[in-house]
Point group: C2
Chain length 238, copies 2
């Protein structure tokens, strides 16, 4: 099965959680909007807005697998998980992995909102005091609660993987969370990491997996930038 991933070609964003799963599995996939020739984004928009589509996606990322089009990051991973060997196959295990992924989705919104709390239609510079306050509460209350939760989940499960006895897309996504927080908040994250030793160790193990390591070193991995979920502003990293 050749998968077609549709996502913005210049950012990691939400698409990255899918890319990591496809890469780790060595799946046959095309990152449609990143094909040469700049025709990828128009193709993506055309498909998304196709009035004949019975099940139109609300927004990227979405995935085409044969005739099937599936959207919403966590839902795509739910679909791919058992197919790529990155999630349990039984209902309880699949549901548990998905539940964790949905909690990661919630965290992602909160990470994004640290730099754009008031509006996505304003520049950061136009919402600076709000961003400072949001970031302060994010690090005081939200990061400890979210990452503390995942630390506990890892500990409960023996420390090696979040779900069951094999690597899952949840582990890959947590790698990306740690990686992104290090990019956006290097100082804060440095101080915080001593509280989440299991998560940091998981991050390091994922980074060393042969396919992930090779992906991260390849041009397929889009660098972090000031346009994605994670953005670095010195004043938010105080």
């Amino acid at each position: 099965m050749r998968y077609e991933l549709y996502y913005w070609p210049t950012i990691q964003g939400r698409g990255e959680f899918i890319r990591l799963a496809l890469e780790e599995a060595g799946a046959d996939y095309i990152d449609v909007a990143r094909r040469p020739g700049n025709r990828g984004v128009p193709a993506m928009m055309k498909l998304m807005n196709d009035r004949r589509l019975a099940h139109p996606p609300y927004a990227p990322p979405f995935l085409r697998a044969g005739k099937f089009i599936v959207a919403q990051t966590a839902n795509i991973l739910f679909f791919l998980g058992p197919r790529l060997g990155l999630a349990p196959r039984d209902e309880a295990g699949r549901s548990w992995a998905h539940q964790l992924q949905l909690t990661i989705s919630d965290l992602i919104v909160e990470i994004h909102d640290t730099h754009h709390p008031v509006s996505g239609w304003l520049y950061f510079e136009e919402q600076r005091p709000a961003a400072r306050r949001r970031t302060q509460d994010f690090w005081r209350y939200r990061v400890p609660k979210y990452l503390g939760y995942f630390e506990r989940v890892l500990q409960n499960n023996g420390g090696k993987f979040c779900v069951g006895r094999r690597l899952s897309y949840v582990d890959l996504s947590l790698f990306q969370i740690v990686e992104g927080l290090r990019y956006a908040f290097p100082q804060r994250m440095k101080r915080f990491e001593r509280k989440i030793p299991e998560l940091v160790a998981l991050h390091d193990r994922v980074a060393k997996r042969p396919r992930i390591k090779s992906y991260l070193a390849s041009p397929r991995r889009i660098p972090f930038s000031q346009w994605g979920i994670y953005r670095y502003f010195k004043e938010l990293d105080a």
Copy 2:
């Protein structure tokens, strides 16, 4: 099967999307934290923080079905859907209903953030200018995009239901979205509704379903208030 729903006892919040599904199906369920005697919330917190729990929920709502504990609103509905006859049973249909529900989840966050954009740890009065700006963009860009999308989904599917040929939890959730936006933004919503005739008609049909009608008139339906997702502030409804 007797279901146990765990959610905050004084607000509709995210739990309401589950309550509506259980009520429409006439399911046997206990709203644990609402049992008399004020022991419900401690029981909920105790269960959630139980260190022996293999699959602890991150936050309410969560549902117990026998030994199985499932959390995250959309994931609970995914679990309940086929069991309550409120979602298709085949993979494609189930995934499509879930995808729509996840888009509703995203909308819910944005609705909440209109009155609390900067921080949940500040009063509304402490973030008034940010709330005004956020609300302005919410109604200018986000509501038309989200509700326009669901209007299109309904039209595509013949107008009666969002998914397949039967009522699903997605229809019930969209009822709750319309109901809540009417509570929080009566003036704005009144003006906007002419753009979403199918959604309004769906809302009205859901409201008239015998079990939903009887639920809404019962003390089990917690009234809207200034503590939930939807809050009314006159200045945001200009």
